[in-house]
Amino acid sequence: RTKTQNFCRNEYNLTGLCNRSSCPLANSQYATIREEKGRCYLYMKTIERAAFPRRLWERVLLNKNYEKALEEIDENLIYWPRFIRHKCKQRFTKITQYLIRIRKLTLKRQRKLVPLRRKIERRENRREEKALIAAQLDNAIEKELLERLKQDTYGDIYNFPIHAFDKALQQQDVESESESDAEKEDDDEDTDTREFVEADDSDLSDFEDMDKLETSSEEEQEEEEEVEKKASHSTSKGKTPLKGPARRKRRYIEIEYEEETEPTTRTKAA
């Protein structure tokens, strides 16, 4: 109900508004267009059949062709009041237009809305959280990476001096490192500051290693720096400590490795 108009609930109404002129109950001579299953029909009511409610509304099937249907309306409603004729044609136009639109839409893909169930949503969310906690992702990833390191999938990139190795071997490594120094990123500040920190973090063997290197060098500043650089480079070859996002330095080590093993391990027993 709008401010000025009522809507009529009668299904045979022509305009949809409740007026004296467009009420099917109030007028004894009336016509409407209604559509059923995509076909349009013209319904007519005349005063002669007012006594027979069953035969009251006469139905005429209209042509599928728009213009021909309009002509049919005209010839059926000849001698009828202008208002009804006009409104019938208008209604017919509107109906055909919306039928066309329906047909067009069904051809396109339509988004299917699947209703969510609130209880299930909540249950899934809760289970997800618990699974996340149970998963302990960081630990799992770290374990997996260490496993791969042990199984030598990385080849020779990282060499962690195990106690069994000779110190001489390490020294040799250091010397070969210095040759490839040019390739690595040089960062004086970092290596200097890192030097102290690394002494705390690294393994015992490295500690001894660095000590040895330090003591073996002369006390000239340059050489010390060089050795420090070498030491830090050699030890930091695989072990640049993670000091938070600000201090991350990526060392792109160019080393060729022959074998590439499949990195995916698929089964891990729960």
Partner: protein, 326 residues
Amino acid sequence: AGDGSGLVGAAVDDGGPPAPERVLFPPTFSVSEIKNKQRRHFMFLRWKQQQRKEKLAAKKKRRKEREALGDKAPPKAVPKTIENQRVYDETTVDPNDEEVAFDEATDEFAPYFNRQTVPKILITTSDRPRGRTVRFCEQLSTVIPNSHVYYRRGLALKRIIPQCIARDFTDLIVINEDRKIPNGLVLSHLPDGPTAHFRMSSVRLRKEIKRTGKEPTEHVPEVILNNFTTRLGHSVGRMFASLFPHDPQFIGRQVATFHNQRDYIFFRFHRYIFKSEKKVGIQELGPRFTLKLRSLQKGTFDSKFGEYEWIHKRREMDTSRRKFHL
């Protein structure tokens, strides 16, 4: 309850005198019988403290006994977890199973695992993606090497699939969106491969992840697949593995992880560094999301005529809390 109320009567105002070492409750006394809420609460707290003390004492005693016994002590009791209690699934893959090995050698991923094909991936969304989804797609494409993002302007999936195959794509990822957040993922292996439909949840973009470093570089990351035990899990795991090129560049030190836990697959992308032989540090970069498998179809994406290998049926499959399918 003469004793009890007498004790409490003095305690109403200031929360009570300090609890005595051993509070003796008369045996027929129950905390819930006191009508006064404040007193009842106080007595309950006292009772709780006592319980805790007893428990601690029992634990200590047990530990002493254990130490006293030394080697002969009974083994430590393992707490029950859902993973421990998981209902045994018959389709669990035995690592030595020949049939499974044979299947894997002949299924749709064989050419990938034999290194005959290089993955090339097309990432797209549903119609009219909103900002979050678009950004997520971009980040995903940086994570997965050799991937391209294309906008879907109302194109039907059925039509674009033949075009993709013609242009040599191996995989198609469609990210479905709802109310401005991505919530579904369709992963389809293209030359006539299986299609998996996932529900995606808790998507975090790179800027929402704390302590993330620089962007993922162009190096090919490694792949970790955890906990894919059953046959179904196996095939899903292989699908994920086939997204990434087979030769990871260890220089890049990046790793993408798909971790399955209780049927939820968590995806993370990290950069790792080995601090020492036994310690590794990881830093998370790249987006993260969790997936839950909804259905697995045999052919490419086809909602009406496809042959479903597995659908999640809520009524049947969600009945037990200890039964998982992946």
